[in-house]
Each structure stands twice: as structure tokens, then as C-alpha cells.
Symmetry: C2
Subunit: 280 residues, 2 copies
Amino acid sequence: MPVTSADDPRLRDYRDLNHSDNRPDLPGGKGLVIAEGPLVVGRLLASRFPVRSIVGFGNRLDEFLADPEMTRMVAAADIPVYEVERRTLAETVGFDMHRGLLAAADRVPGMSVGAAIEGARTIAVLEGVGDHENIGSLFRNAAGLGVDAVLFGAGCADPLYRRVVRVSMGHVLRTPFAHLPGTPTTWQRGLADLRADGFTLLSLTPDPRAVHLADAVTRPDGAPVDRLALLVGAEGPGLSEHAMRATDVRARIPMAPGTDSLNLATAAAVAFYERQRSLR
Amino acid sequence: MPVTSADDPRLRDYRDLNHSDNRPDLPGGKGLVIAEGPLVVGRLLASRFPVRSIVGFGNRLDEFLADPEMTRMVAAADIPVYEVERRTLAETVGFDMHRGLLAAADRVPGMSVGAAIEGARTIAVLEGVGDHENIGSLFRNAAGLGVDAVLFGAGCADPLYRRVVRVSMGHVLRTPFAHLPGTPTTWQRGLADLRADGFTLLSLTPDPRAVHLADAVTRPDGAPVDRLALLVGAEGPGLSEHAMRATDVRARIPMAPGTDSLNLATAAAVAFYERQRSLR
């Protein structure tokens, strides 16, 4: 249905998108889950997050709903679809949204660690990753390279922030994730539970004394470890010593002399690849 | 020496930095090489590009020149150093440059392909990569993972653009690179010359019919290939069929079902890692 004014209350969820992460009126004070573009809007529709509405230019909505699966999901959940002109959308969101297709969904209660890792063979555990783009890239790489779940230790940014959703190409809406409880110095206790669940814990570090990544994902007899948790810290500080001490092995990606460590999502991708390689 | 006005001709090289890539007054019409921050400015000083000047806040210059190697290089090349206040620099460059340290250098004539690959064991060859951030990330990953040179086929963006220099962390100033001559349909002829020089040519592709990357970097007897050229195309279109047909092997990074291909710099990093792994 057409909406012609940026002041229309039906567009409220999309107002001032660059500052929409802070919503004191919503539970937890955090913003809604926002998806941009047909690929990510489709993934939001198929996710566990209840979609509140879809907004788009007429031609973009037509293209999107030409896919019968999308039309079916929109009808099944009775999701309102608002058609807007480019100018109205720009006025609403606060910038020119050239992709012309958006959806908003409610957050849902966080998954428990147990639910997130159920049946998982490979998981990633992050500590201190405050950069939204890095978290988004990590989820994209995790999904592509067969990682089953992501756990957050202390100090990480909100994985449902709009930019994370976009950079992850919507994979943060699909890959199970959960937060390990505790503070920056206590969350590591949860790692012992992972070990009790059969996970081998691997710290990724640029430390040249660490073992080569290729040797760290297999057992001494060369067989791959059964369940593997790959721990990754922020670019710069890396993992805390406290976290690394709670793991079974410290692994490095060998770096050429005189160079810096890799971007953390890139380093994680290399580790995810090595893990998949060991399982083939 | 202090410079107090943004109109001072000594700051001309830094004016309106967001639009400084187009300099019809300079040879080739392209902008200068701009380095931002102490790490990259240091790498520019040590590079083949002749530095014209350094500009910074007083405290940032003091910190930078506290390194005797930097002071030595500045003195040896008689490079003028201009001290500016934050407001003057912001007015000059057109935005708040909080890092407070910049340098500008002249471009130099491009390297020949022969000079760039001299002695190289592993090189990357790019086709159609128009995104500056991807080129910057690729150079950062190439340097860290032991790639000796980068060659450009048709359709790639300028590797000396300011954003590439920044994202590469200055590695584009250190790693040899050259352009293969020709048009989008003729540059591939240069690949035959690489093969004549002993390179095995590997195309990176998401095509599921391609061989696993791990099997593509070794010979049938399991030994690593002697010289390896890794070809990478743009995200989305990938390498042209024309280019892939000129290579020895098409290799894939296996992707989980229902996911997209990796970002090209990330995919390249995985391939660089696999190559280094085969050489250990």
C-alpha cells in the first residue's frame, strides 16, 4: 500500500536509520533488526526474527515479490508492505537509500549457548571485537566456510546492528549465535563447558611461538579433531592471555617478516578454511 | 617549520584530499601518492616514491621523528616538514584528519612486468577489480602471506589511489606491481609469457566443478609447483572465461550450500595461505 509522507507513523521503524540503533522505547533499548536489499530482506523473512513491515520503491517491491517464495512468506506472516517514492524514503531514513528495499523485524530473546552449539562441529568464539564491520565479515566468512555457530565472549559489539546485518549479507540472521555469560575476566569459565561438550579449543594468535594452524586442527595421528572451537580476538590486542590460557592450543597463520597481522575476519576465514580442509 | 594558513602554497599537495585523485596539472593527470599516519608515512619514506613533503600536528611530528631512522630518511632526502594546527589541516584537506600526519610523494614510471616478477615465486594477477578497498586489502594480505608481486590485467582501479594506500597499510608502496599491457580481450596474452617464465597459472573461481584449492597448488606427486601465479577476478563476475582458459588449473574454495562467494580479498588470502602452506 502506498505511503506518501515521511511523517506517516507506518514508516516510524525506518526513521533516521543512521541513529536508529538506540531505541529507549523498545525492550533492551536497542534498535530493531533492519535488512537492506532483496537478498538480505529475503534472509530476514526466512529467519527467526518476526518481520514488522517491508518498505520499498514500487519497482523494487514488484521485483522482490515476483519470487513466489517471498510472496508466500509475506502472506503467511501477514506482513504489511508499504510502497514509497524515493524522495519519501530518503526523507524518512535520512539519506538516499538507492537500493529501495528495506524490512524491519523485532529482536527476539538471545539463544542459549547450549541451543546455539547443539550439533555444531565447528564454532567461532570472539573476544573484544568491537568493530561492526569485522563482526559482519566474520559471519559472512563463517557461513561460507561451514562454521555452525558463533559465540561471543566479553567486549564485543552488537551483532544485530544494522551495519553487521548488511556486511554479513544477512548471515548473522541465519547462523546461530549466543553470548557467554560473565565479565571480561570471568566469561572464559564458559570455555570449560565447551571442553566438557567435547570441543577442542584453539586460540588464533600472531605469536611466532604458536604452532602452525595446519598442525593445530588435527590430532597427533593426523585425524581432524571432532568438535573445534576457534577463538579469535580483536585486531591489535588479540585474545587476552586469560582466554588463551583456557584453550588447548595456540595456533598462528605464518606471516611474512616485516608485515602486520591480518584483519581479524580474514584471519578467521583462513582458520575456517583450514578446518574445512581437515574434514574433507 | 610552522604553516598557519590553509591557503599557503606549501600545503597545496594536501588540498581537498577527497577529490585529489584528479590532477590535470600533473603527468598522467593522476593525483600524488598520499600516505596517512606514522606507519604508512614511514613506509612511503622507505619506498621508491620520492616524498615531496610531510605535514603534521606538532606532537605527531615529534613522535614520528623521535624514531632516528625516520629522521635520517627525512634529512637524507632533504624533505620539507610542515607543522600545522588541527584546524589548518582540516581546512586544507577538507575534513578532520585526526591522525595528524601526512606525506605526499610523486608517482614514478610504472614497473615493467619483467622487473616486478624478477625472482618472484608467488604472484597474484587481478582482472576487473575496480574497488579500491578490495585492492588495498589484497595488497595487505599479499604482503602478509608472502606474495612477491601483483600484476594487473584489464579493468582494475588505480593501485596508488589514496584509499588503496591506506587500506593496504602502505604495502602497495612496497610490493612490486605492474600492468599487463592490452585491452580487456588481449591482456591475457601476457599470461603466456608468465608460463614461459616457469609460472603455473591458477584461476580462482567459485565454480563447483573446479578442483579443490589444496589440490591445485601442488604437482601430482604432491610437491609444490615452483612458480605460481594466482588469478583473481572481481566479486560477482569473477574472472573472464577468456582469462581462465589461458590458465593451467581452475581452483575453488569449497563453499557451504546456500552461501555466497567470499569477498575477493578474503578468497585471495585463503589462496595465498594455501600456497605458503604447500611450501613449508
